[in-house]
């Protein structure tokens, strides 16, 4: 604990600043305090909105929701700058009483700013309803801060908060970091200007590598400050910002242990334990393997096996196609008949692939994926994936688009904007396009994998993972930029509701079919046109050295690869059909699966890459990916033959 500095003379226009994590009811409290006289404007030099209003004579600012005052986004930078720009009358931190840990991480950062402070525990009623008890008196005593409980949406506790605004005091609690960091802070303090408030916060931010703070406060001492930071960092194996965040996090856990109690039923305790194990560095992997195996059984056996057998073998081949063929017989133009029910017909190929083969597979996959989402396991999967990405040496910020790519590569390509340099953005876009299958494509690939024996599945998985790892590792060497941490709040593990899962699955399926069926029809028309003009035969002959000799595949797989240019899963569906008809053996299926997995995801992805990076870069990305995908397939085929590996 430290003594409070003497308060400076009160500026009548000094505002009350509302600070808090996103979605804690800050705007509701702002509305309750200010009424409807609100002015919303962009913070100078940014597009971040800051709301201003008055509670009587006192100005109030509502800052953007933040998870940290060590900025990783414009919102966080704006909030931090507001706190440093002009000493506020008081800072009111709005905290979600249901998620006290997240709020206290911010509280302890605010403590370092040494500003008059009130902690508002909002949504106190919901916390109690969830069995969460916060010993407010004890928390106020340990923190050395004024605390008020509110339910802002019902304006409960708002008067009590208003009454305490004038007597707010800085937080008494101080984190004592380890010796090396405290020593570094003392050395930095000597060189930094003595701000009226926030000197310790500024020193910590500089130590954590904040270039803005160094530029703003370093002045002629900048080289000396950098020297102190470098010397301190040399004593740790982890980056300093990580070390500081870890030590702060331990303090929060210690505080929580003293003041918060959750009464849980047996199920909730079990869920919490499972949630912890799911991200455990050791136990997280068997859990991940079990989840993937469960999905493989559900999607591969039920979706790609039982359901596809019935949809394709019974519904389409025995019922729909004979009827369609008979009806098409009444059409006098042979080309139209062929376009409907011929080998490259809309009904016999596009709809057959889209509805009889792909739909059952993606239906089961979307169902399983929705369970992962609603159970709270998905963010834990992202945490587990963060580790191999870190092992590759990729910039931590790159992890998010890669994880998002498992949802939709096209949209994930848009999120590469969060990366700082163009080089990083292009490289992550390339990795996304190369090897991260979107949810629908993952489903189809999983369905195809079900046709393979376990040893062949292992070869496919190993080749794809190693390829991604090598490309990622090379990317990291080419892009040595600063590593950023991947920070994700983990929601609790919960029991998914069947009704929600079914509705979500149906909505996804509808979206998917609307998006892919037109492309499937287009791909079929292209194949029909190529076939009718003789170009398909020519292409098969031209591609023979690559497809037949290089990849060891039958010539008719050329058609599957051609439609794979439109959508990876359409090509996969073509290969799936060939494999089910016996045209591909297990070894050939593994090779073709590897090639199609490494294809560009879809034509929409190409368009978004062009939108984000221009056609020249897109041409380079595409020109790299397709030869690379075929190249890996050729190497795998040659290796399988050279080593005499066959799959029973």
């Amino acid at each position: 604990m430290t003594c409070h500095p003497e308060a400076p003379a009160l500026d009548p226009e000094a505002p009350i600043v509302l600070v808090g994590n996103p979605n804690v009811g800050k705007s509701a409290l702002f509305g309750a305090l200010t009424g409807r006289y609100v002015e919303v404007s962009n913070f100078p030099g940014t597009t971040v909105e800051v709301s201003a209003g008055r509670a009587g004579d006192i100005p109030i600012l509502d800052t953007p929701g933040v998870n940290s005052l060590y900025p990783r986004s414009d919102d966080e930078r704006v909030t931090r700058n507001i706190l440093l720009a002009r000493p506020p009358r008081a800072v009111v931190q709005v905290a979600d009483a249901r998620n006290l840990r997240r709020s206290l991480l911010l509280t302890l950062q605010l403590a370092e700013f040494d500003l008059p402070f009130i902690l508002d525990l909002n949504m106190a009623d919901e916390a109690r309803a969830q069995g969460i008890t916060v010993d407010t008196a004890r928390l106020a005593q340990v923190l050395g801060a004024s605390i008020v409980e509110t339910v802002a949406t019902r304006k409960q506790g708002v008067d009590a908060l208003r009454a305490r605004l004038e007597v707010a005091q800085p937080i008494g609690y101080r984190i004592h970091y380890d010796g090396a960091i405290e020593a570094a802070l003392a050395r930095l303090a000597v060189l930094l200007p003595s701000e009226p408030a926030g000197a310790r916060a500024v020193a910590l931010m500089i130590l954590a590598g904040d270039a803005d703070m160094l530029a703003r406060y370093g002045g002629k001492h900048t080289p000396a400050l950098q020297q102190i930071v470098a010397e301190t960092a040399a004593g740790y194996s982890q980056p300093l910002n990580y070390v500081i965040a870890q030590q702060r996090s331990r303090c929060v856990d210690c505080l929580l242990g003293q003041v918060a109690h959750t009464s849980r039923r047996g199920g909730a305790a079990w869920a919490e334990q499972f949630g912890r194990l799911a991200v455990h560095p050791l136990w997280g992997w068997p859990i991940l393997a079990a989840v993937l195996f469960g999905m493989y059984m559900f999607v591969g056996r039920l979706g790609a096996g039982v359901m596809v057998n019935w949809m394709e073998g019974v519904l389409f081949k025995q019922w729909l196609l004979p009827v369609a063929t008979r009806l098409a017989g009444y059409i006098p133009v042979p080309l139209v008949v062929e376009a409907l029910v011929g080998p490259y017909g809309v009904i016999s190929m596009a709809l057959s692939y889209g509805i009889a083969i792909v739909m059952p597979i993606v239906l089961t996959f979307f169902f399983a994926f929705s369970i992962l989402e609603d159970s709270g396991y998905l963010p834990r999967l992202a945490v587990m994936l963060d580790r191999p990405f870190k092992a590759m040496g990729l910039n931590g910020k790159a992890v998010l688009p890669m994880v998002l790519g498992l949802g939709c590569d096209t949209m994930a390509t848009l999120t590469t904007r969060i990366l700082e340099t163009r080089k990083e953005r292009v490289m992550v876009t390339l990795l996304l396009a190369l090897g991260v299958p979107c949810s629908a494509q993952l489903g189809v690939l999983l369905g195809m994998v079900a046709l393979l024996p376990p040893s062949a599945i292992a070869v496919w998985g190993a080749v794809v993972v190693v390829t991604m790892f090598v490309v990622g590792w090379l990317a990291a060497r080419l892009l040595p930029g600063q590593r950023a941490d991947f920070i994700l709040e983990l929601p609790p593990i919960r029991m998914p509701q069947l009704g929600n899962i079914v509705i979500k699955t149906v909505a996804r399926l509808e979206w998917y079919l609307k998006e892919v069926l037109p492309l499937f029809v287009l791909g079929t028309f292209i194949l029909l046109a190529l076939d009718k003009t003789g170009a398909l035969n020519l292409l098969e002959q031209w591609a023979a050295p690559l497809v037949v000799n290089g990849l060891g595949l039958p010539p008719q797989t050329t058609g599957a690869f051609i439609i794979g240019f439109l959508r990876r899963d359409y090509g996969a569906a073509g290969l799936f059909t060939l494999a089910r008809s016996g045209a591909l053996d297990a070894g050939q299926l593994v090779v073709s699966l590897v090639v199609i997995t490494l294809f560009v995801p879809c034509i929409a992805n190409v368009m978004v890459i062009a939108k984000e990076h221009g056609w020249k870069t897109t041409a380079w990305v595409v020109a790299f990916i397709f030869p690379f995908a075929f190249g890996v397939g050729v190497v795998l085929n040659l290796a399988l033959h050279a080593l005499g590996i066959t799959f029973a």
Binding site: P22, A382, E489, V502, A507
Partner: protein, 71 residues
């Protein structure tokens, strides 16, 4: 809507991300403003709406009036 990845609660009808997206026409994907995770907008799915109506329990007043009908 609650983001399945980060748990952030947001109003999907208030998003303006589509303005930046070349695939915006008829797009049924919504992106979480906190983490960027993409979900399908169930309000744009006719099948989901239909299913929701079917799964929705009958309003209590309706069931009461049924029960009150003379047998």
């Amino acid at each position: 809507m609650i983001c399945p990845l980060c748990g952030f609660e947001y109003d999907e009808t208030a998003l303006d991300c589509h303005a930046a997206c070349p695939m915006a026409q008829g797009c049924a994907i919504v992106c979480c403003p906190n983490c960027g995770y993409q979900s399908v907008d169930e309000s744009k799915s006719a099948l989901a709406k239909l299913l929701r109506r079917l799964l929705k329990p009958a309003p209590p007043s309706a069931s009461r009036s049924k029960n009150n009908e003379p047998s």
